[in-house]
Symmetry: C2
Subunit: 342 residues, 2 copies
Amino acid sequence: MIAAHHATRRAAPTLEAVAAAAGVSRSTVSRVVNGSTQVRPGVVDAVNAAIEKLDYVPNRAARSLASRHTMAIALIVPEEAARFFGDPFFAAIVQGITRALESSDYVLNLQLASRTSPSVKTKKYLLGGNVDGAIVVSHHSDTEFFSELDATIPVVFGGRPFHPEQHSNYFVDVDNAAGAAQATRHLIDRGRRRIATIAGPADMQAPIDRTTGWQDTLGGAGIATDLIAHGDFTLASGASAMRELLDRDPRLDGVFVASDMMAIGALSVLRERGIAVPGQVSVVGFDDSPAATSTDVKLTTVHQPSTEMGMRMAQNLLALLRGDPVERESILPTSLVVRDSA
Amino acid sequence: MIAAHHATRRAAPTLEAVAAAAGVSRSTVSRVVNGSTQVRPGVVDAVNAAIEKLDYVPNRAARSLASRHTMAIALIVPEEAARFFGDPFFAAIVQGITRALESSDYVLNLQLASRTSPSVKTKKYLLGGNVDGAIVVSHHSDTEFFSELDATIPVVFGGRPFHPEQHSNYFVDVDNAAGAAQATRHLIDRGRRRIATIAGPADMQAPIDRTTGWQDTLGGAGIATDLIAHGDFTLASGASAMRELLDRDPRLDGVFVASDMMAIGALSVLRERGIAVPGQVSVVGFDDSPAATSTDVKLTTVHQPSTEMGMRMAQNLLALLRGDPVERESILPTSLVVRDSA
DNA sequence: CTGAAAGCGCTTACAG
DNA sequence: CTGAAAGCGCTTACAG
């Protein structure tokens, strides 16, 4: 069962062919294809008919070479595939991006990179004029390459940049501190007084802001802020952080967790140890991902509009590519979703 | 904070510039760039030095237009983003694909589609000569578009096609029936006699084969094969299938589940109902995904080499694109990983 | 082993 | 509103 592939691709019709069929010049066909308003309506119809008849699809390479536009957008994710795919937050973001791009002529190029930096090949690709713009999701403090990229092509970031002073970024985010504060306030209102947090990576701005929200709210209420453990947004890391916190103070009665995946890990440890949720310990997550309702005890969590965030990233990038003015910061609203865990 | 983006992209060096710097013709530079062996060593060095000095990166569009190759590969996933991202199996597949592509000049274009069929835009894109080849992961019975695509460009499928007679596919898979048989045999060896299965979607070949493996093994042992419930590979669907099975026969003592995610859902229902695993009910999953060890009771499961499968898909596609002969079927081995659930 | 020349399929000033 | 012409940056026979 060995065989070589024999593609029988019929030569695709060109602009030339359409022009001949419609009885006009290539220039005119090009104008119609690109939606110019400078063409006589009757001619537009004739050209469109020819396009339809020949099933003409413009050659991207030729178009790109002539116009200096690639019509491609890179989606850069500085994460291991396992982490990227393991988190429903990214699923929603990507869904939003693809949805917003559907009605455009742009295609999406996925670039998985390591946390620290893209490969040389990826860098060359991105800097080499192969995409018109980029969306960077989940960037860490140590990825300085993005400053370089940002200076070369329009880039929209998911999440407030770690070093905003380094480059003038466009980004889409929520008010992480405010969301965390609301979650923490909820724990206090529930009568909790020994409130821990499972924080996210220390090299990303969003989780840092969430920790700040937790800290300030507790501080304002005269409650200690010593119970903090870090995870990396994975379920497993949430579990081990929860173990650490319980070992440090078995009497803790509330936890604000910086992501739903980590909260689910924390819940499994609490169950494992026979600690009632929310009876003995109240738990609030962050994201409101689909996973939040898949647990035994449904998760109370801070909702962030992930799909909308993805859509907004793409829309803002599209606007930049058009040359339209765009808000540097797009801050979308969060809200507390109260379920069973707190 | 409104601003338009001002890209200050310096004009990139062209072949022409490199040729001038190296004191040779464009043809020669082109040959060096493309690794021709027909160039005098000394000249090769001079050209490479010029490339290095000028930081030259070939223009993809020009190259593509002249050579009729796009150097792009489409990754087509006929699934909702939520399902695609929710399953660690896909994470491993994508990881394998990107790893195999790293050392090539190809880039990956992600095309999320609905289960039934890609959008008109995506179809035109794929059929319009914008990619040199495609990898299709998780295809369902009703996606006839892929036959058309397969007739146009080289395509490698993940998983045995549903209608193999329709088109002569290249595919990478495991022996699903054999894996399922091994799992079922293990349950019998553990003394289980009332063995159910949570099957996958009925419109995909892999889960169908797994069900067959379960069925044949039970039949061969004179055990009834009436306890079957279907899920869609998601955790939630595994949970409800488990509920259904328990309602139908509370005395069932073993379950073979066609994916780890569904098995995890099943485990949560068993725990919810206070049924001991593996004391009262033994559970075997399929995949050996990272999630298999994230549960309270570690999952016994059929290992399939997901990352290798992804790599193989990409390698086979690359070979097809080179015109090299390729095995139509690449069947990778499975193995039973015995942990705590059975 | 190397170069001059044609050509890939578009876009875009430039005239009219 | 429309067309002729140049040009985007490469590859690839064709000569030599």
